[in-house]
């Protein structure tokens, strides 16, 4: 077990390194000059050169990269061009908002999608199930930013029940959360249905039924317990993906999370801030994935980690 965790942590470091390298190279190789955004208006070439020198952008690519990696190893992930303060600090200020939104969204998703999926599996191939099936496909078919706007128009502008944007009160989380949940419920409930359908048709269930086990117990203690690993995996993966910034939803609702931060940093070509955001969120997502994998033996005693890493 400790060996397994060590191995996974090693993979996390490797993935994080590949990611920051790709981002670093993409930023430097792309056309355009970040110095323009940080020099005085109508800058002279001397002023631009001074800005470039201040940011270390006048160095050759390789030496910039080595300096960056060296600083990373010392725990320094760069200084934001626009905020003139450590990029890590800027990211950490925004991270709680994204985490709050992600936790709320995944909790609501699980609470809705699991019962819905179980119900669809039990009513397999009947007319109500076809209706629910088409509804979940519809849930996956709407652009998320559009769902956000429609919710805004209905609840914030017309009914004025809920605040429209930013993080002004606790009720501000309702609309962004709802926007995320529509798509996630559609995806997860279909997965639950698929997994449950397999287990509901399995021979062990027939045997249990013939012994007189109640339908409720058959559904939850037998079929659902055996479907739970893929479901937990999917919920974990979705949650990890949300930590990378629910970019679109954050932009629509002006939610002050890391997704909005990175879009803003991109438009200003704030290289250190972009790199820091990507690094922090990728590591966080990988750690969440690892924690989810560590849950497997608790859910299903047959699972031994390290022998077969993924089911």
């Amino acid at each position: 077990m400790p060996r397994y965790i060590l191995k996974r942590l090693g993979q996390t470091v490797l993935t994080a390194w590949i990611t920051v390298t790709v981002v670093f190279l993409l930023l430097r190789l792309a056309p355009g000059d970040p110095a323009v955004n940080y020099a005085p208006p109508n800058p002279t070439s001397e002023q631009l050169a001074a800005v470039r020198q201040e940011f270390g952008l006048d160095q050759p690519l390789l030496s910039q990269y080595l300096t960056y990696l060296g600083n990373l190893l010392h725990g320094d992930i760069g200084t934001s061009f626009q905020f003139r303060q450590p990029a890590l600090q800027v990211v950490m200020d925004r991270l709680p908002y994204t985490v709050t939104l992600a936790v709320a969204a995944i909790a609501v998703t699980a609470a809705l999608a699991i019962p819905l999926g179980v119900w669809m599996a039990r009513r397999g191939d009947t007319a109500p199930e076809l209706g629910a099936n088409i509804a979940t496909i519809a849930g996956q078919s709407m652009p998320d930013f559009w769902i956000g706007f429609v919710l805004l128009i209905v609840f914030a502008v017309n009914l004025q029940w809920l605040p429209s944007s930013g993080f002004t009160s606790t009720s501000a989380i309702v609309l962004p959360c709802l926007t995320i949940v529509v798509l996630q419920v559609a995806l997860i409930s279909r997965l639950v249905r698929r997994e449950m359908a397999v287990n509901l048709a399995a021979p062990y269930l027939t045997i249990a039924r013939s012994r007189g086990v109640s339908e409720r117990r058959l559904t939850w203690r037998y079929a659902f317990a055996n479907s739970s690993i893929p479901v937990v995996t999917a919920l974990g993966t979705r949650f990890a993906a949300m930590l990378n910034g629910v970019v679109i939803v954050e932009v629509v609702f002006k939610w002050p999370g890391v997704g909005e931060l990175v879009v803003d940093a991109l438009s200003r070509r704030d290289f250190p801030l972009i790199q820091a955001t990507v690094l922090v969120t990728v590591v966080l997502a990988l750690v969440v994935q690892l924690l989810v994998d560590l849950l497997y033996p608790l859910i299903d005693p047959r699972v031994r980690l390290g022998q077969e890493a993924r089911s």
């Binding site: 993409l26 355009g32 496909i137 519809a138 652009p143 930013f145 706007f149 991109l266």
Partner: protein
């Protein structure tokens, strides 16, 4: 189904209500509803240049911000007096063009890489599988945004970015299917006959798995259209004033507070209808392909 000679004691009516028959009927319903939803959007978009529509780029200044069902403007106009219907249909051409090119590209890359990984195994499989895993752990939308924001939002860049984002799915499926297929006797027969490996893959294995793979590639069209609209919404779409779906919604977002709800709502309905149609059609076809495979073995 109904041509099957019914065993005695089982009425045709009961057969029709059996689970298998119901499944078949439901996939037919999905295919039809899907085809209709997609058709409602695709056909007018395809005919955008033929239909008598106002100019999508240059508006009429005295007809600004008209609501839907105004005379001459079925879906209304934006604050620049441009006809919304015309903008949606012309924008759809760009969105669909990007979507179709992207899935064609990712389909070719995915099938080729997946087939090679599945048939050759060894180091080819290792490289492809590692690449697939690496891409899984990258924050996708962020990467796409990064590339488009930095290299400029042109049709080729966006197409390429979406294709790269989507190749894992057909690749993984093709690899899994080829792993099964290569153990079948006809492959051994082809090898004994001395056929080249490339020929065995292209002429013998791939045709046997193509129907299943193509359905998945077709389903990617839904994702591609959504991705493209998300990118244009974030300002990383094809440049204005040329309309794209995400761009029209993005333009409209500052205005819905003023009551111009149609600028946001209606283009979204167009996207949702098309994507729903593609998803339903793909889902129904997938059920059908699976059943055909199960019957023929």
């Amino acid at each position: 189904m109904t041509d099957v000679a019914a065993p005695s004691g089982i009425a045709r009516r009961l057969l029709r209500r059996s689970a298998a028959a119901r499944k078949a009927r439901y996939s037919t319903i999905k295919i039809w509803v899907g085809a209709i939803c997609a058709g409602i959007v695709i056909i007018p978009v395809a005919l955008a240049r033929v239909l008598p529509l106002p100019d999508p780029v240059h508006g009429v200044l005295k007809e600004t911000s008209l609501p839907p069902f105004s005379p001459g403007h079925l879906l209304g106009t934006d604050p620049n007096g441009r006809d919304l219907l015309s903008r949606i249909l012309h924008g759809g051409q760009t969105s669909l063009l990007i979507g179709v090119l992207a899935i064609a590209l990712s389909g070719v890359i995915g099938i080729a890489a997946g087939a090679a990984a599945g048939y050759f195994g060894g180091w080819v499989d290792t490289i492809v599988s590692r690449l697939l895993e690496a891409q899984m752990s990258l924050p996708l939308l962020l990467m796409l945004l990064l590339v488009v924001a930095l290299f400029g939002p042109s049709v080729p860049v966006i197409t390429l970015v979406i294709a790269v984002a989507q190749w894992p799915e057909p690749a993984r499926l093709t690899r899994a299917l080829v792993l099964v297929e290569r153990e079948k006797p006809y492959v051994a027969a082809a090898q004994v006959l001395g056929l080249g490996r490339l020929k065995i893959i292209v002429r013998h294995i791939v045709p046997n798995i193509l129907s299943q793979t193509l359905v998945v590639v077709f389903l990617l069209l839904a994702q591609a259209v959504l991705l493209e609209s998300a990118l244009s919404f974030l300002g990383a779409g094809v440049q204005r004033p040329y309309p794209t779906w995400g761009g029209i919604i993005s333009d409209g977002r500052e205005l819905f507070v003023t009551g111009a709800w149609w600028l946001v709502t209606i283009p979204g309905i167009a996207i949702a209808l098309l994507v729903l149609g593609v998803n339903l059609l793909g889902d129904g076809l997938r059920d059908r392909v699976r059943r055909a495979k199960a019957v023929t073995g």
